[in-house]
Symmetry: C2
């Protein structure tokens, strides 16, 4: 199925050069994909020329000019109304006006969220998008949400996350009844803060959630469940602590194989293995934070994703758009809000 | 300074054999340490005999009989009053009655907490002990608290953690003005849940806290600050997620070096390096969760700590006892509760 995605080509820490390289990787892998790049037209044209693209390939890339880029540290509220010609604004607008089926940006997360809500609107009953990403586990991948969009949560919000996450895993991973766990400090019913305990009561026996029960932090990587639900504060801390630890350990490994002549020699021999290990430890391996709860497909790429990472986020958006994830979420939220018989 | 510690020799997943080995390691390293072991006297005697100890060494080990062990999964409230002859009860009582200067157990955390509160009592103004442990960072080690004792927290609790943690780092690490950060989802003042924002107002300009500001999850491992404060729910999730990731990556490394003949060969050559790496990734490297806020010294060893890990917890308790940490905490909490001039 043909799909056209809007790409904020200026977003992310590494800038348009990396974004363009990521776009080309994604286009190579997906012959039915085309993209609309938003950004400094001259700069993007120069970068594209360096790749000596065939005309057939170049035809799948459309450029739209924007001479304004929202910075990574700008206050989201201040850029929402004042920067309507920024690459991020224009990229999201492509989806709102039906010219693209999804948008990808590596830029300012808070700004992307506000701008997406403004142009696309929320699903009925959802206040702000939840952010979800996949993490590697022993058994494949497990999705975690929310990762920071919803800081002070009520039990009803966590129920929404469980429902939206279930629909997502069903559509994207093809699981029939995805299992859902609540992140907690223990397994017993008496364990946890008041939010978790109240949410467990909503999830137990809910007809649309295959509720597994509580899991603890160390079990997230076991792959025991398909989806782990938590408030955005906890999810953000859990994900970022993991990223920090992975980076710390990656550095330790590098140091270890550079200490003396022997370790350098072993390091040289182990190079292909260490390269593979580094990839496995890379937190952006499953790059792409999906915004769930919007009337449209928005994927946030990690700010410091490389070209490969950026291409993953694009592929992720293409899959969500093809699967009609936003429409499916709308149906499931309508069902939740309509009175039960 | 001579110190005598009570050891719950029956606690932990690996049982008395591992605990005894850990005790002997700690005694070897600390000639002024003696221990009182609580547990099945015959079993402990048999295990000790296997080590062929010199009489001088054996004189530093006292045995006290207890024929009851509290299981790792028993409900804390139910064992508090009904199991007064258990090894954990009797070990904590040694401290309460002044025969030992501290206690170490690898058993049921919740039970150890309730029993410690019951026999030792809390410091004035502290409701339940906070648990703190050190984590490895680029610059040495950083302490994190609370790790799960206080689930639903108020800002005043987090202020207490900051004060108690500061006293601990000052006494144990010898830092003059330990820096204290609040764990949050961003650096800006507007970021965070209501608990974190209200706590920041208490910490800013507090005369007894060297407040650094907010840090994010990935920065915990940077070593930028001496102490990271959070509620027990968040701290537990952050620590356990890190443990889970470290274990997952450790497994990935092992798999990688066992895949084929080449990788096995490299693995053989890299063995000393990999062994060192495994130690560095080991979450129990800085084993020993200190219970802060009690009128006495209690250290919880990780349930699955090996002999070396258990010896770290004992050494930790000896240091805290020698430094008079509990008394210092009492002074600092009195100061907090007395009216400011």
């Amino acid at each position: 199925m043909q799909i056209n995605l809007a790409i904020d080509a200026m977003g992310g820490d590494l800038g348009p050069r990396t974004n363009i390289a990521g776009v080309l990787l994604a286009l190579l892998q997906d012959p039915l994909l085309s993209v609309t790049l938003l950004g400094n037209k001259q700069q993007l044209q120069t970068l594209l020329l360096q790749h000596h693209l065939s005309s057939e390939f170049a035809d799948r890339i459309h450029l739209l000019a924007s001479n304004d880029t929202i910075g990574m540290d700008e206050a989201p509220a201040s850029v929402l109304r004042s920067r309507k010609n920024s690459s991020m604004h224009l990229a999201v607008k492509q989806v709102a006006e039906g010219r693209c089926q999804g948008v990808v940006s590596g830029g300012n997360t808070g700004a992307l969220m506000l701008i997406s809500r403004y142009y696309l609107g929320m699903l009925p009953g959802v206040e702000r998008p939840a952010i979800s990403t996949a993490i590697p586990t022993y058994k494949g991948r497990t999705y975690l949400l929310d990762l920071g969009a919803n800081i002070d949560c009520q039990p009803e919000h966590l129920l929404q996350f469980a429902l939206m996450g279930s629909v997502m895993v069903k559509r994207i991973e093809g699981k029939v009844r995805p299992s859902v766990a609540l992140l907690n400090v223990g397994h017993e019913a008496i364990k946890g803060n008041s939010l978790v305990k109240a949410t467990a009561q909503l999830l137990e026996g809910h007809p649309s959630v295959n509720y597994f029960g509580y899991i603890e932090g160390n079990e997230v990587f076991s792959g025991e469940v398909d989806l782990v639900v938590c408030d955005g504060f906890t999810g953000n801390i859990a994900l970022k602590t993991s990223e920090g630890l992975a980076r710390y350990l990656s550095g330790q490994i590098q140091d270890l194989f550079h200490k003396n002549l022997y370790s350098r020699l072993v390091g040289l021999m182990a190079r292909p293995l260490l390269h593979k290990l580094k990839q496995q430890m890379d937190p952006v391996r499953y790059n792409g934070g999906s915004f769930l709860g919007l009337q449209g497909c928005v994927v946030k790429s990690h700010g410091n994703a490389d070209a490969k990472g950026f291409s993953y986020a694009i592929t992720r958006a293409a899959t969500e758009a093809r699967q009609g994830l936003a429409d499916q979420l709308q149906l499931s939220m309508q069902k939740l809000n309509s009175p039960q018989k």
